[in-house]
Symmetry: C2
Subunit: 671 residues, 2 copies
């Protein structure tokens, strides 16, 4: 690259973009760790975006109608941190740049949304940012339809690298965006031809522009170091009636000895090479020093949107009060006051009618009373709407000509759905929930983990949660997926036993602000086990005594979901023999673990043998069976220690010994 030509062609642009490059080099060198090349390559694109297109106000990072900027290529985090520092975000003083990648810094190795207001999402696992961005753009469309364009009218910009585009989730995301003509979504592809292992050609020969066109995107190809081309492309993108992909031909590690090589992807810390690069840039200040005029020009960019924001506030204040309150409530993740009474009434009705229902059907019934009073819920399913029971009558279908629709047909895209739901939740104003089969949490897993890490309350509705789904066989029968979900920090895993517990699970999931929920629901019908109405949400404590022992307590049966009624039947068998049995329903282990010792001991006292019952693997159960007893006792577990099989559900429960009789026998063997 002829840097001199770039420098002289547009010196103002050059100095601003170079500030990003220099800060990146200095921060990575100080940390002796990180990725220098990507920010150096994409500095020109980002500079033009922030200077001329992005609607933002550095003084108000949470302004709801700001444009969203997402760095899907999260390893290039110094690009984002440099921009946030330069434009004057209060949370990003120079100290933060100097502390790049140190414990306690906001400038973590990869952007972490929970560390700073201006970080829209957590990226690093590749492809996630693209799929988040699709969710952001859908949320914007939905809220624009709901509140009007005076209040919601912004773009979503995402920078993605070759790695993002190779990940399968990117295909799910871009085909969704193309199908829904998300015209306010703009993807800038850092087309630098380099991956860690070498040139992209080593592993890929895809015509990315043709690929996006096949997904019905508008496409533009530019020189990613030419400010005029970048500007024109962004202008064109904003006018398109389709999502736009701008292929930006760039040089990774521009101007450094490692330019255009895979070495340039990593940490460029050689002092002499850094000096040479800075000299080539015409950058003469010391480490972490940005010339005052350049910093000032960047800070002006940071203030560029202030007036637009003030105008927006005026318009917002003119909205009818009820709309404003709903808007603010939804963005604050508060539930409507009447949710609690609605759930109580629903529970009472369920207890009284005591239906035999699959919990997936119970979930639909609960949603039928929740969705009408929570305008912010958005439901969906990865092509299993009728099986996941996620669609209620009033939602309407989100589509090109019905942006107010609150139900999304996600297609066969579990991963893209989960990531886009995360994007919706991160955008604010929307409470997304979406369904697939519990077994296919496997496909959605990378985004489910990120929901937990990002501290957002995405709700995953996972039906067909055991061998109880029957004939579809072991590929569709989860056995380890409860354990997997529970192993993830900051995740509520609910396995409700009947309609009452299902409604309680929904109430907790929706009132939770920083924790995602997994609802593990049955395909098969279950009797109502909560036959006495309580206004209190018993599931909130994670586990509770469903039926106590008659006579001396010799056995405690602990069960979840579809096995609770089996535990109750086993109790009948044992009580008939004069053996006192307590049954504990444990719809949420995480919430039970969070209770104080006294409560846990009250529910699970010592002095009795214990049998855990769940149609899944034992992993995660031993704490309740062995580790928290008042005194030494014996314990056993009735569940699965292998993959399932194809056959009718009732026969499978027999085959694998998950029966009331076997539970009773195991308990007796311990006595």
């Amino acid at each position: 690259m002829d840097l001199t030509a770039l420098r002289t062609a547009n010196p103002d642009h050059w100095s601003k973009a170079t500030a990003i490059r220099a800060l990146t080099l200095d921060a990575v060198a100080a940390a002796n760790s990180g990725h220098s090349g990507m920010p150096m390559g994409m500095a020109d694109v980002a500079t033009v975006l922030f200077e001329k297109h992005l609607k933002f106000d550095a003084a108000n990072p949470l302004w709801p109608d700001r444009d969203r900027f997402i760095l899907s290529a999260g390893h290039g985090s110094m690009l984002l941190y440099s921009l946030l520092h330069l434009t004057g975000y209060a949370q990003f003083p120079l100290e933060e740049i100097k502390n790049f990648r140190q414990i306690g810094a906001r400038t973590a190795g990869h952007p972490e949304n929970f560390l700073a207001d201006a970080i829209e999402t957590t990226t690093g696992p590749l492809g996630q940012g693209i799929a988040n961005a699709v969710g952001f753009a859908m949320a914007e469309e939905m809220l624009r339809a709901q509140y009007g364009e005076k209040v919601m009218d912004h773009h979503t910009y995402v920078i993605a690298g070759d790695g993002c585009l190779m990940e399968g989730v990117s295909q799910e995301a871009i085909t969704l965006a193309g199908r829904h003509k998300l015209s306010k979504l703009v993807l800038m592809w850092d087309n630098n031809n380099i991956t860690i292992d070498g040139p992209v050609s080593l592993s890929d020969d895809t015509d990315q522009v043709a690929r996006f066109a096949a997904a019905k995107w508008h496409t533009i190809e530019i020189d990613g170091h030419n400010p005029a081309e970048i500007d024109a492309a962004l202008t064109e993108a904003r006018k398109s009636d389709k999502p736009t992909m701008i292929a930006c031909k760039t040089h990774i590690a521009l101007g450094h000895a490692a330019q255009d090589t895979s070495k340039g992807h990593g940490a460029l810390t050689d002092a002499a090479q850094m000096s040479a690069a800075k000299e080539a840039y015409g950058w003469t200040t010391g480490p972490f020093e940005v010339p005052a005029d350049v910093k000032s020009a960047w800070e002006d960019i940071g203030k560029r949107g202030a007036e637009t924001r003030r105008d927006w506030e005026e318009r917002f204040d003119k909205m009818p009060r009820g709309k404003r309150e709903t808007f603010n409530r939804a963005f604050a993740l508060d539930v409507p006051k009447k949710l609690s009474a609605t759930i109580k009434a629903f529970k009472k009705q369920m207890t009284e009618s005591a239906p035999k229902l699959a919990t997936r059907a119970s979930s639909e019934k609960a949603l039928e009373v929740i969705n009408p009073i929570m305008e912010e819920t958005v439901g969906g399913s990865a092509d299993l709407t009728g099986s996941n029971n996620t669609k209620t009558g009033d939602l309407g279908v989100f589509d090109i000509d019905n942006r107010a629709g609150r139900y999304v047909y996600w297609g066969i895209r579990e991963h893209g759905m989960a990531a886009a739901m995360n994007g919706m939740a991160l955008h604010g104003g929307i409470r997304p929930y979406g369904g697939t089969f519990m077994c296919f949490t496997d496909y959605a897993r990378p985004s489910m983990r990120l929901a937990a890490l990002m501290q957002i309350p995405t709700v995953f509705v996972m039906t067909h949660d055991s061998i109880g789904l029957g004939e579809d066989g072991p590929t569709h029968q989860p056995v380890e997926h409860l354990a997997i979900s529970r192993s993830t920090p900051n995740t509520y895993v609910f396995r409700p036993a009947d309609s009452v517990e299902t409604a309680e699970a929904w109430e907790i999931a929706l009132t939770s602000k920083k924790t995602p929920s997994v609802l593990s629901l049955t395909r098969q019908g279950l009797p109502t086990v909560r036959l006495e109405h309580k206004n209190t949400n018993l599931s909130e404590k994670g586990a509770y005594v469903l039926a106590d022992a008659e006579g001396k307590r010799q056995v405690i049966l602990i069960a979840t979901g579809s096995e609770v009624h089996l535990a109750m039947e086993a109790r009948d068998l044992l009580q008939a023999e004069g053996i006192g049995v307590r049954v504990v329903s444990m719809p949420c282990m995480e919430l039970f673990a969070a209770q104080d010792d006294a409560y846990r001991k009250r529910v699970l006292p010592g002095g009795a043998v214990r049998v855990g019952v769940e149609a899944g693997v034992r992993q995660g159960w031993d704490r309740w069976l062995l580790g928290e007893r008042g005194k030494y006792g014996k314990a056993d577990f009735v569940g699965m220690d292998r993959f399932g099989a194809s056959g009718p559900a009732e026969e499978l429960f027999e085959k694998f010994g998950i029966t009331a009789q076997n539970i009773a026998d195991k308990a007796k063997a311990l006595l």
Copy 2:
């Protein structure tokens, strides 16, 4: 559709294809469960493929050079079962068709490779079959280069539906196939416009033909009910120098009242509608009855390849004996005799030199001695070759002009890599291993589960296995991934403590025939802890006493991987205070669980407090801490109960209390 025109245009073809449709209707109706529409829609394509193109011999389902036929749209399993029954596979008598989806039948809800020789792979989770097929095709290329085209020269055919193509993994797979010009891979897309939720257009508007072309595939569009067009397309595909996608326009549930509707996707069991469909087909026999002439014509097809196979055997027998033995050994999944001695010598050398090495580097060193003596190993990495240490000097790189290369640059495609590795293992003759970061087992998870379910010994090399990776932060730091891997049935999860245990893990992984392995390896350097050479593979029992207590045994420390040396240091601290401490290294919980009670009690006797140490979540540990002690004792755990953070590794271990001092303190607190 005008069925009459189809019937009369080619009555021989029609009756054969209709046998598939009729058997499908009957089997689904008998099971009252299943998917009728897909086999009914793709019967014509499958009939032409089997009749005129597929190289197979029904009497010899395991013939190594057969063409592979993969039903990626696994829910349409009756298509496959009908074909296997009709062509005369001994494992598929009519009884099996009648027992569709019943316990013990080979005709499970979805095709299960371990239930019958002729089922090449397990499908059902969508998109997997396509990615498996890429692995099959790569294996064929590799073995052709290794053994010559006289011995290996076959095609891989895969039928995929809209769901398969919407899943992200399909993009990873097709871009791999396009990059590598896998010209003997043919994908037949069941282009029926229907998904479960409704028409494809509800959720997708992708131009699939253009998408495949962008991935450098040859593409053909045909009427999937026109035998001549099908035949011509397959002929053209076989001549192409690229992988070929044939877009087959079909009618789901052809001829049934549910044709072209999403209802047609499911179980069509209405008796009247079934009769009407059969009448429209001109099919007059009773349920499960195939006219003798039709059955006979199909059986002739099943024998079509017998002579070709005999010719192949003659050619095979002419190969030099050494080659034949290697071929047979590799297909039998036997390791070379000298592997054992090689590993022993390597271990001795490691014990003697006692290097401080990251276990990822130990793994590379082990592979440097393994790969030269096992021609069947194929390594690779999802764009982290230098980090995963998966490439050894002698492998060569698999590429268009070097099909003999044994190293694959998989690109940023963890899921596609895992699924394609499964395909290679299923093909036979290849022992695949591939690497990514442990945290990104999340991306590969659906295929890792399938490796376990399918009982194939794929090896997943997962490095950077804890907060020990440092600055990349919580998106890259696994905490729950050991628990996730261990929760999966039939999976060996190895977390070796040093070079010696790493070599032992490799030996077990490579001698295993029916169980996949996850190698959880560190980024950071670890001291050698096995300082006394043993020929015996101590890891084979899962856990063993690394250092016993001096004096009275009061404490047992159980640790894995990078925490074993911390446990040893904690032992020094405690022994210095006169507290007797045993250290147990537990590189593989599954293997330890498989030992007899006596061994487990010998390693973990009662009468001492226990502390488990692992830089991951506690889930899965309680059995060893609480559940298997000789008598009541106290236990604690040093590990992670939250996500990690970005910062230097040593500081993170301090921050999260994973230190020798903390281990010692916790043990003392229990005494």
